[in-house]
Each structure stands twice: as C-alpha cells, then as structure tokens.
C-alpha cells in the first residue's frame, strides 16, 4: 500500500533517535537506508503520474466527479506524506551528525582516527559531504575570537582544576604547560583537567 515504505523509514528514524537519546551514550548512526529511500522516491514518481492521470480524467469528465476528486486528493496527500517522512528521516540523521561533529571535535570521523566509533560507510555520500562541511564550519567557528573558549570543550562545569587520572590505554607522550607526561597504561598522574579533557572524552584516561 502507498505509504508503507515511508512508515518503515519513519520507524527506523524513531529507533535511531531512541538509540541516541540515552544519557552518556556515544552518538552513532546505523546504515543509511538507501534502498528504502529510493523505493519511496519511486513511489512518489508513480503517485505523481497517477495524479496527472486523475487530473486529466477530471478535465475530460470521464468519471464521477466526487470519486475522482477524492482519489486525486488522497494521491496528493500520499506524496506529501512521503516527502515529509523522507525529510524527517534525513533530519534525524543530520542532527546526529551534528552531535557527532561536536562530540568528536569534528575531525576524527573524517580522518578515521581511533576513538571515532562512527563507520563512515554507514553514511550516504551526501551525508559524508555534509559532515565534512559541518566539521569545517565548526573549525572555523572555534578559531578567531572564540579560540580561548574552546567551544567544543566539556559542558560539565569544572569541579577541580587539577585532577588525578589513571591511564586506560597507551597514548604516548603529551606536552602540557606543566611538563611532559608519558601516558602508559595503568599509570597515574596529577594533571590540569583542561589539558586532558580530550583524552578523557576519547577514553584514554579516567578521572579518579
């Protein structure tokens, strides 16, 4: 039936949203439903043809006016609904891409670095382009006047300036204002929180 495919897509969008709605969970997108999207787009083309046919018939007054008007109207509604479902699906996904870009400081996913849990092959080509452009936009926004603020930094209020951390994964040497630290698994350090924020986000370090 018309609209069934779109319904599937919306359910998929809802699932994606629920998966990402939980607290403290990393954002991730499931595979882009290319086939489903193409199917719905074909359905719209089909509906469009139907609507033109119905319109022609009305003009020729070949069938009962009321019935064909109603058919015509329902066809338009189906197209409209398909369109809205497609847009909703894409919007849910692009919102998560935004969150990913903020959370990972943008660059990681594109560079395929460790710590980036999003598989780029799950994104459509257009989405990959979008993510790249959005990431560039954030990089641009973060430099200049706002560079001091570190816009993509932590949104949890600072509790202590200096903290004890434990190293969970080897991360090599880092340079800070207070000297160099060699981050070897299971070692502990007393460091300035803002220096290691990123490493904590990426799961290399744990606050004790």
């Amino acid at each position: 039936m018309y609209g069934d495919l779109a319904n599937k897509l919306v359910l998929e969008a809802k699932r994606t949203k629920q998966l990402n709605g939980r607290n403290n969970q990393r954002y991730a997108l499931p595979m882009y439903h290319e086939e489903l999207v193409q199917g719905i787009l074909r359905e719209v083309t089909q509906l469009k043809r139907n609507s033109e046919f119905l319109k022609d018939q009305q003009q020729l007054a070949l069938v009962d006016d009321k019935i064909s008007k109603c058919q015509y109207f329902v066809t338009l509604l189906c197209m409209e609904r398909n369109k809205r479902c497609l847009l909703a699906y894409q919007k849910v996904r692009s919102d998560i891409l935004n969150s990913l870009a903020w959370e990972n400081n943008g660059l990681d996913i594109m560079n395929g670095l460790i710590g980036a849990e999003q598989d780029t092959s799950d994104l459509s080509h257009q989405e990959q382009d979008y993510l790249k452009e959005y990431t560039d936009l954030l990089t641009e926004l973060k430099s200049g006047d706002l560079a001091d603020i570190d816009l993509s930094g932590s949104l949890t209020p600072p509790s202590d300036v200096f903290i004890d951390v434990r190293v969970l994964k080897d991360a090599g040497e880092i340079q800070t204002e207070y000297g160099a630290f060699n981050l070897i698994k299971d070692s502990q350090f007393f460091v300035r929180q803002s220096d290691v924020e990123r490493l904590i986000q990426q799961g290399y370090l744990q606050k004790i």
Binding site: Q90, D129, F162
Partner: protein, 288 residues
C-alpha cells in the same frame, strides 16, 4: 588600570544593566572599575545616572543571561558588548597567568628566593576561576547555537520581515559569529536535503518551509511553554503596584484564560512564557 575605550563605549550599550541610580554616599569602587557620570543618555529618564561596569557585575550578568537562555523557549538577544568585555578579560587573564607563572618559573630556576606559597595558591585560584568563566561562556554560546539550529528556518523568516517594527532584526538577535554560522549551516543542510530528497520530488513538492497543510514545516518557539520565574523587580518601578498581600507586585494577564495574576517581588512562579516575556526583556524577572 583596566580603563580603556571599550569600557567607555560599552557604557553606552543599551543591553548592559550597569545603569545605576546615583547615590552620593556610595564610595568609589575598587580597581578595575570604570566609573562615569553620564547624563547624556535619555536625560528624561535617568537624571544623573552613574554608570558603572565592573568585572564582578559583568560576570553576574553573564550568569543571569546564561540561565535565562537555557530556560527560555526562544533565542534571546545577543549581549555584544558584555561578551566582548568578557572575552577580552579572559584573554588578559590568560596572559596574566602566563606572566605570573613564567616569573615564578624563572625565580625557581635561578634558585633566587624560593617560589612563595602564596603565588602557587594564587595561580591555582586564577586558573580555577578562568576555567569557570570559560565554561559559562562556552555553555551559553552552545545553548544559543542549539537554538540557532532548532529555529533555523524560523530565523530566516525573521530576516524577511525586516520592516515589522515588533520583530528584532536578525543581526541584533545574533552575534556576527552566530549570523555566519546560521547562514552557512542553513546552506549545507539545505544542500543535503536537496541532494538526497528534494530535487527528486515533483516541482510543486519542493518547498521545505511550507507552513500550510497539516503540520507546519517551520519550527517556531513554543511561546506558551511554562517557565519558572523569580520576580526580582527594579527599584522605584512605576509599574509596581501594591498587591493583595500588601507586597509590591507586577500584574500580568493571561489573555486567553481571562485571568490576571499578581507577581510579588521575591516570589517564584510557573508562568506561560508569552505572559512574562516583556518583564524578562526589561530584566524585572529572571528565569530559574
């Protein structure tokens, strides 16, 4: 000391609340504060007002704006001058900390007088404070960007209604960064939607800002959302009346329910946003 032209220009900012009624008994504020007698702005309203800007007041104001922004359904106007002062202070403080810590390192290396414990403590405190300021600014700006995204199409329409005097023009509502972000993000999002969906649609179905039909495609702030408010009041406000309880209050009306509500100074209420919006803009209440 801290006095420079920015602060003086900032005094003229209509969005600072640093306007105070002059009080001759008030002693001069400590360092880092600019004081300026000003009777040139709107002399009818504020005769001999003393305008005073201090880091402390600015930070308090920033905290208020941050909380208001987080609680309000709509995007509130951007406080350009306050923000430029805050950003400048952050920058200066970073330099200052570096200087102090470098000085302290030099002393240490040359084995001259040992680093004083007070200096260490002082650095620790200044760093802690700096992180706090950065956090509030960051959280505030991120909250605003979130709304810029959420109301992307709605904000674009605001721009189209420039002639309507009741509407704040976009370039007053947003900072220049935010304007740029809004414009660019709209462009890339529309490109995504266009390439993956819209361009495959029949021409009559290509609109993405349709407000007709069943559900509007343009998300607008929920003007009737309930918000928690604290009634602060401003001294000698002619709009204050004596309420039933004898306390001074503002009276607001919830028009669609035909109800008048008295908001007493010091009280906490839960009200529909649209009803208290004017009081919020006049800084007579705070969102909490």
């Amino acid at each position: 000391m801290d006095i420079n032209i920015d602060d003086i220009l900032a005094d003229l900012d209509r969005d600072t609340t640093a306007v105070e009624y002059s009080d001759p008994s008030q002693q001069l504020p400590s360092d880092g504060t600019t004081v300026m007698m000003n009777s040139s702005i709107d002399p009818n309203r504020y005769k001999h007002t003393q305008i005073e800007i201090s880091p402390e007041k600015d930070f308090k104001q920033l905290m208020r704006l941050w909380r208001n922004e987080r609680c309000s359904p709509e995007l509130l106007p951007y406080p350009s001058l306050l923000m430029s002062r805050m950003l400048r202070r952050v920058q200066e403080q970073m330099d200052h900390i570096e200087n102090v810590s470098m000085g302290f390192l030099e002393e240490y290396e040359s084995l001259e007088p040992a680093p004083t414990p007070n200096n260490k403590l002082q650095l620790l405190c200044m760093e802690a404070e700096l992180e706090r300021v950065k956090f509030v600014i960051r959280s505030y700006l991120r909250c605003r960007l979130n709304k810029v995204d959420k109301y992307m199409l709605y904000l674009r329409q605001l721009n189209d209604n420039e002639d309507d005097p009741g509407i704040t023009p976009l370039n007053e509502l947003l900072s220049s960064h935010e304007l740029h972000y809004h414009e660019k993000h709209s462009a890339i999002l529309l490109k995504l939607l266009n390439n993956s969906i819209v361009k495959h649609m029949p021409p009559e179905l290509q609109a993405i800002n349709d407000t007709e039909g069943s559900v509007s495609m343009v998300d607008e702030p929920n003007w009737n959302k309930f918000v928690f408010i604290y009634v602060k009041g401003i001294p000698n406000d002619p709009l204050l009346e004596e309420g039933e309880s004898g306390k001074p209050c503002y009276t607001v009306s919830i028009s669609d329910l035909n109800e008048d509500v008295e908001l007493s100074i010091g009280g906490i209420y839960v009200m529909p946003y649209s009803v208290i919006r004017d009081l919020l803009m006049q800084e007579k209440i705070e969102l909490i």
